[in-house]
């Protein structure tokens, strides 16, 4: 079978996805993603040169509304689920 995705690719994609994989997961996902991508190869047989992509099925363009002040959640409601806070802010570990 053709190798479509290598373990190195899997490591790179995991990093882009902000995921850390164990050695076993790397092996497993490399094998499974290869199987899945192999199945997808049939798409390449289709000539789609003149076909426009469909990202969305409804004929919607930009949807605008008037800019008015409505009801919104209070700061306490917004922060109620956060793992860590300081005063009215979300608190995270150091960034730089």
């Amino acid at each position: 079978m053709k190798i479509l995705i290598t373990k190195k690719d899997v490591e790179h994609v995991a990093y882009l996805s902000r995921l850390e994989l164990t050695a076993e997961e790397k092996e497993l996902y490399t094998r499974q993603l290869n199987d899945i991508l192999e199945h997808f190869q049939s798409l390449q047989q289709l000539d789609t040169g003149d076909v426009r992509p469909t990202a969305h099925v409804l004929p919607l363009k930009n949807v605008f509304r008037e800019d008015w002040v409505g009801q919104h959640l209070s700061v306490e409601e917004v922060l109620a689920n956060c793992p860590d806070r300081e005063e009215d802010y979300f608190k995270v570990p150091k960034i730089v």
Binding site: I36, S42, P93, I95
Partner: protein, 485 residues
């Protein structure tokens, strides 16, 4: 009389004549839950006090002589990826195990306004990714017809709850078949409305261009009653369609004379269990005998639907699920060195294997060097698939197929082979890609397990699907069979 065995429209009759109270009904359903939930495992969380409180409010209104809405006092279960203000909403994921939404989804508000009581939140595959509910981070849901088999997924909890009498109606969500496939496996009615017909505000996003909320019910009349409440434009969802919502019960006519029904050959061949095909063929014959014109047709690009779907849906998911970073809500991994380390540890510890697999697949399909070959290609193939449906639906009033290739499978049968699991959605996925409405309804049994018939319609023509489904139901008794638990 066992109230939990009845439909919403039957119960409404008893409630409005004051032969039963809403409190009595809700208690009966919770007694049923207490009796069978250990065997079924449909609920992640139950809201008995809330349901009884609302039931008593409905009873007071009935006593005061107010005209009761069709769903007033009716117990409804909500899939756990639909936000409920103040009530735990997990999406079946450890990463949202402690999440309490500060607002309710539009559909939940609408059901509340219609007087429905809420029994609880139903189990599901994590973030709706799966076809068996085996990917839930919390519990196993079993098929009420055979507890050695899966209920289907991802709305497996909702389907099992309705089938087991643990609720009267339920809401699910359907991205590639997640309402219709479990409805078929559990022998209930499930509809995915046209994309945009129901607001997605408050639905935890999986793949935004495909996700749609819809009902799971015991019969087609209840399906119409639920659609009456949940459909309609919502300014809070910019992708919701501005259309006139009809009274869907107006389509419940026993008449299919002259209707043209197309059967795509592609749905009847490869990978379809011959016994399932035989059930669907009997349904075709019945509809023909009732006066419909049934003919085979073709959707030439259908064989590419699965590949296109499994590029598009994971791509959208990889973007939607980027929000689970441990900052604003949800799980956060302890003891991270810096913020990126926190993102990585949080997501690696709290997301399950199928969710990780799809995030990776989606990220790969969108990444530099592969975007054109995978994601963009899939969007173009989606156009071809959509055009196939549009052409077929110019010629026919609706299309008909099996809802699933096989009846419910056994636990563990497919969970270790993702591609095999993906193939169980082969009949339902094309409908989401095209955005058209689809309904699954019971059309037979194979070895004691229910078989689902799928009807697919024109955009915003749920009415014709209801009409045909209702006519089929009036002439069969599959929907009246209930499992012994």
């Amino acid at each position: 009389m066992q109230l939990f065995r009845l439909t919403a429209h039957e119960l409404h009759g008893f409630l409005s004549k004051r032969e039963i109270s809403a409190e009595e009904l809700n208690k009966a359903v919770f007694d049923r839950i207490a009796a069978v939930e250990d065997k079924i495992g449909a609920y992640i969380c139950r809201t008995k006090e809330l349901a009884l409180e609302r039931a008593r409010a409905v009873d007071r209104q009935i006593k005061e002589g107010a005209r009761t809405a069709p769903l007033a006092g009716i117990p409804v279960a909500i899939k756990d990826n639909i936000c409920t203000n103040g009530i735990s909403t997990t999406a079946g994921s450890k990463i949202l195990a402690d999440f309490i939404p500060p607002y309710s989804a539009t559909v939940v508000k609408k059901l509340e306004a219609a007087g429905a009581t809420m029994t609880g939140k139903t189990n599901m595959d994590e973030f709706a990714m799966g076809s068996s509910t085996e990917n839930s981070a919390f519990l196993t849901t079993r098929n009420p017809w055979d507890t050695g088999r899966v209920p289907g997924g991802s709305s497996g909890g909702s389907a099992a709850a309705v089938a087991a009498g643990e609720v009267i109606c339920a809401l699910g969500s359907d991205t590639g078949g997640s309402i219709r496939q479990p409805a078929a496996f559990c022998g209930v009615v499930g509809m995915k409305p046209t994309y945009g017909a129901v607001s997605r505000y408050g639905l935890i996003a999986f793949a935004s261009s495909l996700d749609q909320i819809g009902p799971l019910t015991k019969d087609v009349t209840d399906c119409a009653l639920m659609l009456n409440v949940i459909c309609g434009h919502d300014p809070m969802d910019s992708t919701s369609a501005d259309f006139t919502v009809p009274d869907f019960t107006g389509f419940l006519n026993e008449d299919v004379r002259g209707l043209k029904i197309g059967v795509p050959e592609e749905f009847m061949v490869e990978g379809i269990d011959p016994r399932v095909r035989a059930s669907v063929e009997s349904a075709m014959t019945l509809l023909e005998n009732l006066g419909a014109v049934v003919e085979y047709t073709n959707l030439p690009h259908n064989k590419h639907a699965l590949s296109a779907y499994y590029l598009i849906a994971p791509a959208e998911a990889s973007s939607n699920l980027a929000r689970y970073d441990g900052v604003r809500y949800g799980y956060r991994a302890p003891a991270a060195e810096d913020v990126v380390d926190m993102f990585i540890k949080t997501r690696s510890e709290a997301l399950g294997p199928e969710v990780k697999r799809r995030i990776m697949l989606g990220t790969y399909g969108l990444s530099a060097g592969y975007y054109d070959a995978y994601y963009l290609k899939a969007l173009k193939v989606r156009t071809l698939i959509k055009q196939d449906f549009e052409r077929a639906l110019e010629k026919f009033d609706l299309l008909l197929s099996p809802a699933t290739p096989t009846p419910a499978f056994r636990f563990g049968e497919k969970v270790d082979d993702p591609l095999k699991m993906y193939l169980s959605d082969i009949c339902t996925i094309p409908v989401n890609l095209a955005g058209i409405p689809g309904i699954s309804l019971p059309c037979g049994f194979v070895d004691g397990m229910p078989v689902g018939l799928q009807l697919m319609g024109k955009y915003f023509d749920e009415g014709t699907l209801l009409r045909v489904a209702y006519t089929f139901e009036q002439n069969t008794d599959y929907h009246r069979k209930q499992p012994e638990i």
